[in-house]
């Protein structure tokens, strides 16, 4: 198959229709979280961000950001950004297992039957800079600088208008499948920057260019946050260790393409129906000659 047709098929396989089980579940959880936040913080502004809002949503990582911003002079959730972050975390922890991230709060189930299951929702608390309700400050709990100025609309617009959304989706898939640790919004900015002059190239060339740049640059490339050009220091997010991890993953990928072809990067794309899939799984299980016997230590 032609490489770009193959990549188009990969993209197609990553589409999540609005009536998919995954998005249906996401909508249910979103409604629950939103109701909880509105109950606890009636004055908060609730909005949606993340890949669903920006566009580069993929089946392998379909996260929704629920933005919970407070007015610049509203202190009901706390005086400082750290207080706000803590208050929102405490409110969510009544119903969810909350995993703290740098600025977001990741929600997992705390019910016994579904313990640990990820809801694919990050709640991002913050406070608007002024009454225009555009720019916002968010808390950073594991960074030197506690405060990050951001602007959701600018981020969404920057990604949507980039002209390289297919490349962003495929590179996000590459990153997610390799469990690479860079924050997605910084990775989006990096990809947009690297492809700035190459938007007319075909998809495979765009991807190869990004991986080659990741390999070739010995030091992390600097990226500018459109929400605060020159203001936000993203060098901590894109530090030497993170860069090296991505650089070696990119090198491996380019070698794999050379050695095995593109299918080694994104896997074979063969569509099967749900029934066929179940049959094949049953056949795969039946073909195991000496299956291992699962157990559980927590009885």
């Amino acid at each position: 198959m032609d490489i770009d047709k193959y990549l188009a098929a990969v993209l197609d396989s990553q589409n999540l229709p609005e009536d998919s089980v995954e998005l249906e579940q996401l909508r249910i959880h979103r409604a629950d979280v939103e109701a909880l936040l509105k109950r606890e913080f009636p004055k908060a502004h609730i909005r949606y961000g993340g890949s669903k809002a920006k566009g580069p949503l993929i089946r392998d990582a379909y996260d929704l950001d629920i933005i919970c911003y407070f007015d610049h002079d509203d202190t009901t959730a706390g005086k400082t950004l750290k207080d706000i972050y803590g208050s929102v975390q405490a409110a969510l922890a009544k119903h969810y297992e909350v995993q703290t991230k740098t600025s977001a709060l990741r929600l997992r189930s705390k019910d016994a039957a579904t313990l640990g299951q990820d809801f694919h929702i990050d709640v991002v608390p913050g406070r608007y800079v002024d009454e225009s309700n555009g720019d916002c400050f968010i808390y950073q709990n594991s960074a030197e600088k506690e405060r990050l100025k951001t602007n959701l609309d600018l981020h969404i617009q920057h990604v949507r208008d980039s002209g390289v959304s297919d490349a962003i989706r495929l590179l996000k898939l590459w990153k997610v499948r390799r469990s690479l640790g860079i924050k997605q919004f910084v990775f989006d900015l990096l990809v947009i920057k690297l492809l700035d002059q190459r938007k007319s190239a075909n998809l495979s060339a765009e991807l190869k260019h990004v991986w080659q740049e990741l390999c070739d640059a010995a030091e992390p490339l600097s990226v500018e946050d459109p929400a605060n050009p020159g203001g936000n220091d993203l060098s901590k997010v894109l530090d030497g260790a993170t860069w090296s991890e991505h650089s070696s993953a990119a090198r491996r990928t380019l070698n794999s393409i050379e050695q095995f072809g593109w299918e080694q990067v994104y896997g074979p794309i063969v569509k099967v129906s749900a029934e066929e899939r179940t049959e094949k799984l049953r056949a795969a299980a039946a073909a195991v000659v000496t299956p291992t016997k699962a157990w559980c230590g927590n009885a």
Binding site: S109, V288, T292, K293, W295
Partner: protein, 221 residues
């Protein structure tokens, strides 16, 4: 202290990376906090079709291959409950660890991925679509441990299993010891030959781990 396996033999780490590249290109090898981790997407492929994928983390312990790698599904898809063979700390239980440590292929991470890990996730995918767990499984907790050790030792008597493990935990076996079978006879006049045969299969380090696990598990239940 004994040097960590991946420090003692850096080539081993590189060869692991190389071994994974063909069958599991998305699994990256990372050395962190005295351990080696494999992280990334684990595919279930059958007849050239990717039937499913799981985001996994395999922690290869510092004393590998004398201890079992630990497996976690890190995509938040499988609930952490005993019916899905996942501990409440998120650690998966694809098998009783000592069973793998007795395998001749225990030194191969690739065999671990192709065997217990693949079986575990094939079963999880079937359970997700409403099918039963397709393989036999062990009872949970101490019962499962006794069942597994009993099969290895050829007995179902729990007291005998513990005595056998105590005996096998020693670096050397003496003929004047009391036989672990419970007859009251000296080992040399009873099951010494059998014990020697079992020792060839179960080294002292593995027996010690098994015994510790039984004691720990009994304390939890």
């Amino acid at each position: 202290m004994k040097k960590l396996w991946h420090r003692a033999n850096a080539a081993l780490l590189a060869s692991l990376d190389e071994d994974l590249r063909g069958p599991y290109p998305d699994l990256g090898v990372v050395a962190e906090n005295e351990c080696v981790y494999l992280r990334g997407s684990f595919p279930i492929i059958c007849d050239g079709v990717v039937l499913d994928r799981y985001q996994i983390e395999v922690r290869i312990p510092r004393n590998f291959p004398h201890a079992l790698p630990t497996l976690r599904e890190i995509g938040g898809r499988i609930p952490w409950n005993i019916d899905r063979h996942v501990n409440t700390n998120g650690e998966a239980c694809p098998l009783v660890p000592e069973e793998w440590l007795l395998e001749p292929r225990r030194e191969s991470i690739l065999c671990f991925l192709n065997g217990p890990v693949r079986d575990f996730f094939v079963a999880q995918s079937l359970v997700e679509v409403g099918q039963p767990w397709p393989f036999p499984w062990r009872p949970h907790g101490t019962d499962g441990l006794y069942q597994a050790y009993g099969e290895l030792l050829g007995t179902h008597d729990r007291a005998v299993i513990r005595k056998y493990l105590e005996c096998l935990s020693k670096d050397a076996v003496k003929g004047h010891w009391e036989c672990p079978c419970g007859s009251g006879n000296k080992l040399r006049h009873c099951h010494l030959n059998d014990v020697q045969v079992v020792r060839a299969k179960i080294p002292p380090s593995v027996a010690r781990q098994a015994l510790q696990r039984l004691v720990r598990q009994a304390g939890q239940t």
